[in-house]
């Protein structure tokens, strides 16, 4: 009897240690290594040697990297807002279609996910080019005088990002949206709200948590993208991830790349925590 209880406890311990183990192997371990390397001494004409120096962090406090960080965060937020703004109504309408139609769309979105960043970036650079792009179609339709090239450029970059993140956003919103009681909007309508108003003051507030979660996911996801800004953006629109790649791959300055990555991670973590704190405070405020 007591043996069984002990065995059960042991088994549970093992089961509980599994997530801890995975977290350790796939997150804490790599992050710890990166954190350690970010304090190593860079040897410019060769590699780096283990040390504990702050020079890598000191270097990133220059207008070059701070401005770049600010731009990266701004771009992440912009893309998150656009992506969720586009995906939300789409997902709402999708969740109200016939099951078969929904399945077809979801399979399509999943297949878009399989496209790599490179393919997306190249496809958009061709679509937005002067010689072969969509502007030629507009010229042919008589809507424009002469074709223009939009890639590389800020618009192209944002488009590329949104194309990359949209399927994730839709798939992220879809489960909660499909669980959303359709009678909620109907109730709002019987109470005198037009469908548009019901969408804004019932559907969106009721979906607040998934919306915030999607915004954060897209924001964080966007920070890690480094090929799209290179291919679709001008140099002034390169993100910190591009500079990290340059440092790691082309300058072989791994300590500095690690410092930049740690800095980017901590900044985005701080922003996410701030979001949660503000969200919690607002909820307390509403409840009181």
């Amino acid at each position: 009897m007591s043996t069984t209880a002990t065995e059960g406890t042991t088994a549970r311990k093992w089961l509980l240690s599994y997530p801890t183990l995975m977290l350790g192997v796939f997150f804490v371990g790599p992050f710890g290594i990166m954190l350690a390397v970010s304090f190593f001494q860079r040897v410019e004409s060769a590699f780096y040697k283990p040390a504990f120096v702050f020079s890598n962090y000191a270097r990133l406090f220059s207008s070059l990297f701070l401005d770049n960080l600010a731009f990266s965060l701004y771009l992440g937020m912009l893309v998150a807002v656009i992506s969720v703004s586009v995906a939300f109504p789409f997902t709402y309408l999708l969740s109200r279609m016939r099951m078969r139609t929904q399945t077809i769309w979801l399979v399509f979105l999943l297949s878009v996910l399989s496209l790599s960043e490179v393919i997306i970036a190249f496809s958009w650079s061709i679509l937005l080019s002067r010689t072969a792009g969509v502007s030629n179609l507009l010229v042919w339709l008589g809507l424009m005088d002469h074709p223009v090239g939009l890639a590389p450029g800020f618009t192209a970059e944002v488009l590329g990002y949104c194309y990359l993140t949209l399927p994730y956003t839709v798939l992220m919103l879809y489960p909660s949206m499909s669980r959303l009681d359709p009678e909620l909007t109907e109730a709002a309508r019987t109470l005198g709200a037009s469908p548009q108003r019901a969408f804004f003051n019932v559907v969106i507030p009721a979906m607040r948590q998934p919306i915030v979660a999607s915004l954060i996911l897209v924001f964080v996801f966007t920070l890690g993208v480094y090929l799209i800004p290179q291919i679709l953006g001008n140099p002034e629109h390169w993100t910190l991830s591009v500079l990290i790649t340059d440092q790691a791959v082309y300058q072989s300055n791994v300590p500095f790349a690690a410092a930049l990555a740690v800095f980017l991670l901590l900044t985005s973590l701080a922003l996410i925590l701030l979001t949660f704190v503000l969200g919690a405070r607002e909820r307390i405020h509403t409840a009181s």
Binding site: F47, R130, T131, A132, D246, S252
Partner: protein, 362 residues
Amino acid sequence: MSDETKNGITRREFIGAGLAGAAMLSMPPILRAQNRTLKVGVYGGYFKDSFDKHIFPDFTKETGIEVQSVAEPTGEAWLVQLQNAARAGQAPADVSMMAQVPRLKGANAKLWAPLDAAKLDNRKYLLDNFVHTYDDGSISGLGAVSWYITLVTNTDTYPEPPESWAAFWDPANRDKLGLLALVSNSFLLEITAKTFFNGHDSLKSEDDILKVLDKLAEVKPNVRLWYRDEGQFQQALQSGEIPMGQYYHDVTGLAAADGFPVRSTFPKEGGVLDSGSWCVSKASNRLEEAHLFMNYMCRPDIQAKLARRVGTAPTVKREHLDLSDEEFAAVASDKPPILPYYQMYLDRGDWLSDRWTAMITG
């Protein structure tokens, strides 16, 4: 006989599995003793494919040494990998083709095995700047291939070829240029210094370099694309989307031969001559085979074959080559080249990369 065949298959399967599973692991010594093999690192993609097809089989036929080619990433990632593996006493490749900056960094870290000059007799054919030595006179590497970066144009947009790199600064070419995005692979500082200043002499101090950077910053309004990916620019050049820029001489020639409206021009200041050299990891225990391989690669007939088949400029002096003028012009030029100032990247790589990034992103 049948046993041998069987063994052969088993061994190949073992190699295949080894490469697929853990490329970093070196082969067990017993297997190596029986078979003379050499792992050679070459840039992945076009270079590796060409060497596998045109160069390595003949080497094996002549020496009995089997070459296992390893695809290297470009940039300095391979250097980092070699360094980390060497710390563990392993060599992902015995011989690697290294760009000059990582080669110099590796030499400073004594990553390259010192080589025996007596076993590398064919080095006498090489241009002098392609024999790299340590301070004690031992050889740290030998020039493998070189290539030119030239001024390329779309012939539909530019019926007449430009004569000088100064065309990049011409206000008429606004929003028309595609330039390489990194200070360390575009060599635009050297180009600017040669075109408007006194070449390498104008890149000796930080103040001088900033002057050259300021001059270079003037081209920014003309630049449509700062590219890292070659394919992106080549596609845009061929379509005329971006009708002018800097690109690889031999690839442009091949595109022109395929009928695309592109041309490569050696400006009067010269094309940029960049190169790769063979270096041997100090963790390699196939030094004998490595010497044989490098000596073989320095032979004028092999360099000529590289020029014809792979499109690289020879690292051997012209007089030893049997290339026709036409064959030579396809890969190189007699005009004095602009040589990259590699030491500058070594001495102040971080400073330079920050200034460069600030310049182009500003």
